[in-house]
């Protein structure tokens, strides 16, 4: 079982989707159990894989049994999966988050998309399969295919929402296609110079033929980065994200917001580390006036500040959260490009923690919307009294977002700030702190609103368009929503307290890399 576990991670959701296609269309009640079963199986396989990785270190699964040439030393002719602790962690996050959101979705999917439940769950499962596959694969092109699966499913998952959702999904399609195409082009540029597609082989060829200086490789790296940045909504390229996430159905937002951008960041890290190599990524290129990584870190500082400021100016909870996501993306990109081990560790750790933070907040907001029927900040009056448990979980998520101990948000900030100090990137440190403060302001504004009783307030228009489903509000929070919310909230603290274990796992994967301090 342990040997085959990596493939089960991807196959379980896939077969789940098929099963829904076979039986779920007729028996709608079976959709959710099938989904849950598939995701649980996937989670189990992930845990098993992760245990194997912890026991044996990085390991490789050969699809189709095509071994590398020359007794395993040569290039890879098939497709392989490669799991190390970092990808294992990301996989764990994907499996856990998707399972939680699936539980959460029990009442929501039926409410949001009453007549297309089976389709929704099929797309849901396939999105998870795509994300997991992206994380685990070691083949640059296979990654593209899986990227497209996850993109297509996410377009559809967004577009099943209100009519604004369709519009934003369309924008997402345009942006996403440009992003994915850039990625594909980048792979093409790599392929034309190296002739291989396996990530490690590409790296080996670049090193062996000393291609790092060649324009093609340089352009390839830019293209891949641009592509991945578009997909992760890195600041100047973020325009698609806020509308897409905030107008989509609750479950979609709760699934995509924690996972999609994070997986893209993981892929960026993967590209930097595995394909191009740190030496390439962080070295000052002679022809360039600007230090490569300096530039990116500066960009990410801008992203952080801009994301926070934009988040502050929103009056809609979901929108606000989406802008916070944009800021958080800046955290991780900047962390990864700080050119030191701490930064990379922090970035990976932040992937994990941010996934759960976002999850917690989105779930909480989902509950709030389900209960109050709208998501404007003004509408949150007196929520602490009305739904104390939800608000408590929301508070934990918010505190984590702000970065208060002992939640995991604090520790990721800890590593990132530490790395920023070490790298001497003061503006990045400043941006991090600034965004923490902004988050504090943002969330305490909400707390205030929710904590203090209602003051005079004119009729607040709902942000949903009038022809969407009439939002019927629930009398009490169903346990299918409360339990995942609380699990995620508790996970935030657990992740925080045991952050060092996680960081050690990350470090064990990074330790073979030869990090060096960035000059300047």
């Amino acid at each position: 079982m342990g040997e085959q576990a990596p493939i089960v991670i991807v196959l379980a959701p896939l077969f789940g989707a098929l099963l829904i296609a076979f039986v779920g269309i007729r028996f709608k009640a079976l959709c959710l159990p099938v989904t849950l079963g598939a995701l649980s199986l996937s989670l189990a396989a992930t845990v098993e894989t992760f245990r194997t990785v912890l026991a044996r270190g990085e390991f490789v699964y050969l699809l189709g049994g095509w071994k590398r040439l020359q007794e395993g030393d040569g290039i890879s002719i098939g497709i392989e999966y490669r799991v190390d602790t970092i990808s294992g962690l990301v996989l764990l996050v994907i499996a856990a988050v998707s399972l939680l959101v699936a539980i959460y979705s029990r009442t929501r999917v039926v409410a949001d998309t009453p007549d297309r439940v089976p389709y929704y769950y099929m797309l849901y499962l396939l999105l998870v399969a795509g994300l997991a596959g992206m994380t685990i694969t070691n083949d640059a092109f296979n990654l593209y295919v899986l990227l497209e699966i996850s993109s297509l499913t996410s377009y559809a998952l967004i577009a099943v929402g209100s009519r604004r959702a369709v519009l934003s999904a369309f924008n997402y399609v345009i942006m996403g296609t440009i992003g994915a195409s850039f990625y594909l082009l980048g792979i093409g540029y790599l392929y034309i110079k190296t002739g291989v597609l396996n990530m490690q082989d590409i790296h080996a060829v670049i090193i062996a033929n000393d291609l790092a200086e060649s324009p093609s490789i340089r352009v390839a790296s830019v293209l891949i980065l641009m592509g991945v940045w578009i997909k992760m909504a890195f600041f100047p390229l973020h325009a698609w994200l806020p509308n897409a996430y905030s107008y989509s159905p609750t479950t979609t937002g709760a699934l995509m917001a924690p996972l999609v951008t994070k997986v893209m960041i993981y892929i960026m890290i993967r590209m930097m580390v595995t394909v191009f190599g740190l030496d390439y990524s962080f070295r000052a290129t002679p022809g360039m006036p600007l230090h490569w990584s300096n530039l990116v870190v500066t960009l990410s500082s801008i992203a952080i500040v801009a994301g926070s400021v934009m988040a502050l100016s929103r009056r809609d909870l979901k929108k606000m959260l989406t802008y916070i996501i944009i800021a958080e993306v800046g955290y991780m990109v900047g962390g990864a490009w700080l050119a030191n081990e701490k930064g990379m560790t922090g970035a990976v750790y932040h992937i994990v923690s941010d996934a759960f933070m976002t999850l917690c907040l989105f779930l909480a907001v989902g509950v709030i919307i389900a209960r109050t029927g709208q998501s404007r900040i003004e509408g949150m009056n007196g929520l602490f009294k009305k739904m104390p448990l939800t608000m408590a979980a929301f508070t934990i998520g918010a505190l984590s977002m702000i970065g208060l101990p002992p939640t995991c948000g604090f520790f990721s900030k800890w590593y990132l700030v530490g790395a920023g100090i070490e790298a001497g990137q003061w503006h990045y440190v400043g941006a991090l702190l600034f965004s923490s403060l902004m988050n504090a302001v943002i969330f305490f504004r909400i707390f205030e609103m929710a904590y203090f009783p209602k003051e005079v307030n004119e009729a607040e228009p709902a942000c949903f368009d009038p022809d969407a489903h009439p939002l019927e509000t629930l009398e009490k929070t169903p346990s299918s929503m409360a339990i995942p919310l609380w699990i995620s909230a508790v996970t935030l603290i657990v992740l925080g307290v045991f952050n060092y274990t996680i960081v050690q796992w990350i470090a064990s994967a990074l330790q073979s890399l030869n990090f060096f301090p960035a000059a300047g």
Partner: protein
């Protein structure tokens, strides 16, 4: 002139692909009509496919299908395969996938544009935006 011989002629395909890609991308970003955007998207994707297929071209090579008499099953041993005789199959494989992805994306995007039309009664981006401005927004 030397520039011409060195950079343009031997890499003609690559130049055209860049041009096509720019055309497509500009349409994707700047066109007002959603369907036009999608046509631009399709052109953009074919440009990339063109790039890949161009990678795999070999001077004087034939299509990457072995002749029957080269198959060991038919006549044992067969002629040795000369690599230069066959085009590089790998880009073709990759592009098959890319085409499929392209058509899938196109279909989905068209479905969305129909739904947008149903909701807003137009496919022009600026009209839709002006309608949205009238809606309650955050």
């Amino acid at each position: 002139m030397e520039f011409f011989e060195q950079l343009i002629i031997p890499k003609f395909n690559y130049w055209i692909y860049v041009i096509l890609m720019m055309i497509g991308m500009r349409a994707m970003i700047a066109k007002n009509n959603l369907v036009k955007k999608l046509i631009g998207m399709a052109i953009f994707q074919t440009a990339i496919i063109l790039f890949y297929v161009s990678i795999g071209v070999k001077e004087g090579a034939n299509i990457p299908i072995l002749d029957h008499h080269m198959m060991p099953g038919e006549i044992h041993g067969g002629d040795p395969v000369v690599v230069a005789e066959f085009a590089n199959p790998l880009p073709h494989v990759l592009m098959l996938t890319a085409i499929v992805v392209g058509v899938a994306t196109l279909g989905l995007a068209l479905a969305m544009s129909q739904k947008i039309y149903r909701a807003y009664g137009t496919l022009e981006e600026d009209d839709i935006l002006s309608q949205i401005k009238l809606e309650p927004n955050d």
